[in-house]
């Protein structure tokens, strides 16, 4: 749905190439992900048993997923009892339709929104625009990219691709007071002034949810800025959009997961604002929404439960992005979906289909750093490799790749043939070398575009052993 957007145009390789050529993007990514890695490392160093806690967190999520219908039903019952109204959506279209319908019934002109990756996933910004509803993004980073007319490039720092210098220019151009600011503090202040009135004049506030708590029917939001509460409390209507996998058993579990989530995301012990919202305004309340709607979205979750249940543990902390060597070089837009980085490569094929997105699971070195830092120990490399196997089985890989692998397996499974082939091939290859190095490989030009390759020796190790050489 975003294929027409400038930053998302073209194929994965084209977008990646463009990103690699963008020195400015590299600076922005290095600053944001570098800061994030440093802070996470400090937080984890202060928690000696963090690895055990990751396993405990994974078990807490798995428990909710193992008893998914039970907990979701319990959530439904308790949320209804709190006065919330529930809407169930199988896909992105139904989810957007549910939100738009509520906006229409409210005759909403302006909605404020606090950052929700699910909203991006289902294309809510686009749907609101089509419905003629003015959307005001209140999260600072979302505000920045709304001004820039872009999509998020990181799930925690949507404006990770923007430097402070970029933000300064955007604010000077778009903010009412048109000031040229150099300090981050002053920029934050400018956004505060710019968005202030919208918080209080919006008709509807839309948020996501970090957790759906079965035992209470409450939804939990976690923010740094306080924009979620300012988005959801003053307007007459609060709409929550949430993926069904956000379900957890208890408030205690939600808070326990928050501990590992926040440390993995920003390195703080807890974000500034952790709020459980339970139903609309009550008798005697001086503030709070009169209507409280929760749109519960499947959009591929049941499919994931079948194919890669571990992925439903994901807390959207962004640690796997910050530690991914590929993400750090190409940024989020190159991935082409709402979710970038390792977790994005794992789930985008569910949303978009494997064939058009099959580059994503392949554009990975399978180095495992993502799994190591994931607070719920999701085996991302395994999931990505499984996508590769599926892509191979379904015949999406090129003929050249298939032939190459088949040929290698054929020769390597016939030791005598293998030895004979090497005895012929290695001297030929060796002849291409100069001073011990080959600067252009015939079968792997990708290697020698940017690296040299050492010339092979005259004889293989096994040939030398066979000829009696001992050491």
């Amino acid at each position: 749905m975003n294929a027409d957007r400038g930053e998302l145009a073209g194929t994965f390789k084209e977008r990646a190439r463009k990103a690699l050529g963008d020195a400015h993007l590299r600076v922005a990514l290095d600053r944001t992900t570098g800061n994030a890695r440093t802070k996470r490392a400090a937080a984890v160093a202060a928690w000696p048993d963090f690895d055990r806690a990751r396993a405990a967190a994974a078990a807490i999520k798995d428990h909710a997923l193992q008893n998914f219908p039970y907990y979701l039903e319990q959530f439904e019952r308790n949320a209804l009892a709190s006065g919330a109204r529930l809407h169930w959506a199988r896909d992105a279209k139904e989810a957007c339709a549910a939100v738009i319908k509520i906006c229409r019934e409210t005759r909403a002109k302006t909605v404020t929104r606090s950052k929700s990756m699910l909203g991006e996933e289902i294309g809510l910004p686009h749907a609101l625009a089509e419905a003629g509803v003015r959307r005001v993004e209140t999260d600072l980073a979302e505000h920045i990219i709304q001004l820039a007319g872009e999509t998020p490039s990181h799930i925690i720092w949507p404006a990770a691709h923007r430097t402070r210098e970029d933000v300064s220019k955007l604010f000077e151009k778009h903010h009412r007071d048109h000031l040229l600011l150099t300090e981050v503090e002053a920029m934050v202040d400018s956004a505060r002034r710019e968005l202030r009135d919208d918080f209080f004049s919006a008709d509807v506030g839309i948020s996501g949810a970090n957790f759906l708590v079965a035992e209470t029917g409450a939804i939990c939001t976690i923010t740094n800025e306080g924009n979620a509460e300012l988005t959801t409390t003053p307007p007459r209507v609060h709409i929550v959009t949430a993926g069904i996998e956000k379900i957890v058993a208890t408030t205690e579990h939600a808070l326990q997961l928050t501990r590992v989530l926040v440390r993995s995301a920003t390195g703080a012990d807890l974000t500034q604002y952790t709020t459980f919202h339970c139903g609309p305004k009550r008798a005697g309340d001086l503030d709070g929404p009169e209507e409280f709607h929760i749109v519960l979205v499947d959009h591929g979750r049941t499919q994931m439960l079948e194919d890669m249940p571990e992925m439903l543990r994901c807390l959207r902390c962004g640690a796997c992005l910050n530690h991914c060597v590929v993400y750090r070089k190409i940024g989020g837009h190159a991935y082409g979906g709402a979710y970038p980085g390792p977790m994005g490569s794992a789930i985008t094929p569910v949303f978009d289909g494997l064939e058009p997105s099959r580059d994503l699971p392949h554009a990975c070195t399978l180095n495992g750093h993502c799994k190591q830092v994931c607070p719920v120990d999701i085996p991302l490399p395994t999931i990505l490799r499984d996508w590769r196997a599926k892509s191979y089985r379904q015949g999406f890989e090129s003929r050249a790749v298939r032939l190459g692998l088949a040929l290698w397996a054929f020769i390597a499974s016939k030791p005598a043939l293998y030895r004979a082939a090497l005895a012929v091939a290695l001297p030929l290859l060796r002849r291409r070398g100069k001073d011990g190095w080959i600067s252009a490989l015939p079968f792997a030009p990708g290697w020698t575009e940017s690296r040299d390759f050492p010339a092979p020796p005259e004889k293989t190790f096994l040939a030398r052993i066979a000829s009696g050489e001992e050491a």
Partner: protein
Amino acid sequence: MVQNVHPGGPRVGLFATCLVDMLRPNIGFSALELLRAAGCTVEIPKTQTCCGQPAYNSGDDASARKLARQVIEIFEGFDYLVAPSGSCAATIRVHYPDLFRAEPAMRARAEKLSAKTWELLSFLVDVRGFAPTGVSCKASATYHDTCSGLRELGIKTQPRALLSAIEGLEMRALEGEETCCGFGGTFCVKYSEISDAIVTEKAENVVATGADLLLGGDLGCLLNMAGKLRRAGAPIRVFHAAELLAGRAIHAIGEEKP
């Protein structure tokens, strides 16, 4: 089959790996010497070829199984399978059982082999309690933790412990020592521009150490970094740690005269 008999020591099948076999026999000889010095009876089955990792990582499970079956047949009779590569050892140890999840009999054999498969440096330390003696090398060196060994097999302290026994060797810390070098097997050819960006950063960090030598435990990664350093004109010499430990670090990668 070549045999070196050490009565009482375990029978180790040395799996040289296809890259070492083809491109750097010196690592194979180094492994052989180190294993013998650690009291093992080493055999080098001559029908060995490739562990199937390229096929496995490309999603070609059928080809991977074909090669995995071969490795299992060749090596299951040994007390240990040892390979001078974290990623090949991890393929056998971590991924073979999964490859045969639909074939219980093969799976059982894969699991048995998995349990006795080791990467060379961690085998020397963790199984054999080995430390090299009488090896000296007057140089400064830095160590890159190759990802499969580090994260799939937990290899971190073992190579450093071994290297600390080398007289005259000064170890220098590498910024981002646990960050992937961008090799990734077929990744580095398929997505060569992304791979280049990653290895460029790695090479910069290596150069910044000012060390004479770059060491590691996986030839694929070492080739990637050595190739980049050479293209960038950096004079750092690249060796597998085993070559240094065996006192065979004479010609670095790319230095053997044609």
